[in-house]
Symmetry: C2
């Protein structure tokens, strides 16, 4: 086990101890034990204009052991904290799925009438996941910082060297393959980089195409994909590349509300998990396209597609897309002229377009005209 | 572009020319053009006991241009072949999605009554994908051999050096990350390997856990994951490792019909796409577990789980699982004593178990007891 790993364990174990040891003191004093946990509700989620991402508000809730309605969740929280603590000190790497299994068992107890009853610590993973999130906000540690692993699908290539564990990895020497991003991107050390920007492509297949024709070499960028809705490790790494190395980040998605939402998750964070944003959001991320004005043009802007191509490539929006767009139209971070224009155009044309349609015009069109021209011309949306 | 890539292009372009040039000659002679295509139907799919995988039978179908019912598909086939040919000679890397876009357009024509009509080359990707499969069987080239890329999610680590494109990649020096397998695994050159077997883990998160504790170092294996239902590149690479390097391949999946099916795809191929198996199937692959007898024990075999653990970890099978199991029970390659016992036990207990449940007992249990003991004891199913 390397030093970065060991230090992360020490830090996380300490945070858990510091948060939970006071409970023991209260019990010794004869006080009824309670936990104070920041509220993860939508009403306690705010968009921080200054920071540019979603943050949790100040509201907290108390959870009492000696309250019949709260005792179960109280005990679940302590159980989960103890499993994580144990995994930390025993150099284990649990996943959220096996945290669920590790804690799952049946408790036999006698009720007030003297009847023997059984109850499960938790039944479904939904329950143990919610408890884990409570621990994340309570300790102010993301689960990655507690060395909890998860399924990851992000990839990256580019002219950059990183240290991960005991190894130095040259991200420019991976052939046609790529670096599969690790679960704990905070343990990565950036050694040296020769790139001018980060390009995040929504789709894995398009990432592979751009990689294959050497896009990142020619245009000096770090090429990444989150393969659809990005996982936390990919988002964290994008943030670190932007914040620590000062590299501008451009995101390319399909031209539809689902694509905008992916961009939104990169930029301001996830609405239902605002506590992550402090570390995972990249408020300076730029939406490079595919934008509605790329498709249809606008005042002073020529479209990238001909009328014929529009006819062949455009997909008709569904009712669910329109509904989604109307929701996004209200979000505080979409209250800019460009975003409102983008959403209006969508609602007017009821049209969607996939990145692959641009590749349909030729991979060279995407790689050597569309992307460089958009970046050089400053044609992105903040 | 590297030499292997250029050679693959030359080979594929030649195969397409050889298959389609005779058409021109027939037309010059005044004969009505037709294509002869191997039948991809279920009835033309056989399990070849000798080879140990699914193969296509001898049946072919003819497709005539001058038959109103076949003209559309005939022309689609020629269109697709020409798009692929063009991409090959122009050094493009299309995906199946952008092959769809490249070919999609509207044809205007006049019918016999002199009325102007419109028809799309194809409407949905289903249609263009089916045409692509026809070209695969017609030319005897998998799409990867035609440099057609696709979304990939397979990963690999281990003490091995490979050449991919211009680079030599050391798969033992990837830190906590991994090598994301490329779309065209036939272009990979194996340089040197220090491993005694290949371990394929169904789930990405478990792959990461085993990687993190250095399983592959300690037990001298190449560690891989297909992240669920494996893609073609992962299957092809597994096959090559087995066939060319002679490494035994062990597969670990969840203990349920879905997991058995994943193993089955690795071993004999996909039932609906039997023409792939010749290159993608690994008939010598071994199902290491998790097996029903691991959970419940058997004559002369102690179970790996206690009664208490079974109670906590087992998931009740659904009707769909039972139906699936009954289908699998009939497959020719499951007609062995061990597989029949496995399926019977499942149908009797109606119980499923996830790999993560074993990690719930401790990652060390999975890594240092379960896997090595099963391999050393020969406790797998062919």
């Amino acid at each position: 086990m390397d030093r970065a790993d060991a230090e992360a364990r020490r830090r996380a174990a300490l945070a858990i101890r510091q948060k939970l040891l006071p409970l023991l003191k209260e019990i010794e004093k004869g006080n009824p034990p309670k936990l104070v946990i920041p509220k993860r509700t939508f009403s306690n989620t705010n968009f921080d204009k200054e920071k540019g991402f979603l943050v949790m508000g100040e509201e907290t809730l108390e959870r009492h052991l000696l309250d019949a309605g709260e005792a179960r969740r109280f005990m679940q929280t302590i159980l989960m904290a103890s499993i994580i603590y144990q995994a930390l000190v025993e150099n284990e790497y649990p996943t959220i799925r096996d945290l669920y299994y590790r804690g799952k068992h049946t408790i036999t107890y006698m009720d007030l009438a003297g009847k023997v009853k059984e109850e499960n610590t938790w039944d479904e993973q939904d329950e143990s996941d919610a408890v884990l999130r409570d621990i994340e906000v309570m300790t102010d540690l993301l689960r990655e910082e507690m060395l909890i692993l998860s399924k990851e699908k992000g990839k990256m290539v580019g002219d950059m060297r990183i240290r991960s564990g005991p190894d130095v990895i040259d991200l420019s020497k991976l052939g046609h393959g790529a670096y599969a991003i690790e679960s704990t991107p905070d343990l990565i050390e950036f050694l040296d980089v020769n790139a001018e920007f980060v390009l995040v492509v929504e789709k894995d297949a398009v990432f592979q195409q751009l990689h294959r024709i050497g896009f990142w070499k020619q245009y000096k960028c770090l090429l990444m994909t989150g393969a659809g809705q990005p996982d936390r490790a990919t988002r964290r790494l994008v943030r670190r590349l932007n914040e620590e190395l000062g590299l501008p980040v451009y995101v390319i998605t399909d031209s539809d509300p689902y694509g905008w939402n992916i961009f939104s998750v990169f930029k301001v964070g996830s609405i239902t998990l605002s506590y992550e944003s402090e570390r995972l959001a990249t408020p300076k991320a730029r939406f490079l396209g595919v934008s509605m004005t790329d498709i249809f043009g606008d005042k002073g802007k020529k479209p990238y597609l001909t009328a014929e191509e529009r006819k062949n490539f455009i997909i008709k929006a569904k009712d669910a897309d329109v509904k989604r767009a109307k929701d996004l139209q209200q979000y505080p971070w979409f209250q800019t002229k460009k975003w409102q224009r983008e959403i209006e155009l969508f609602l007017e044309k009821k049209a969607k377009l996939e990145i692959e349609a641009l590749v349909g015009k030729g991979l060279k069109f995407l790689a050597h005209k569309y992307i460089p021209e958009k970046i050089q011309g400053g044609d992105w949306i903040e």
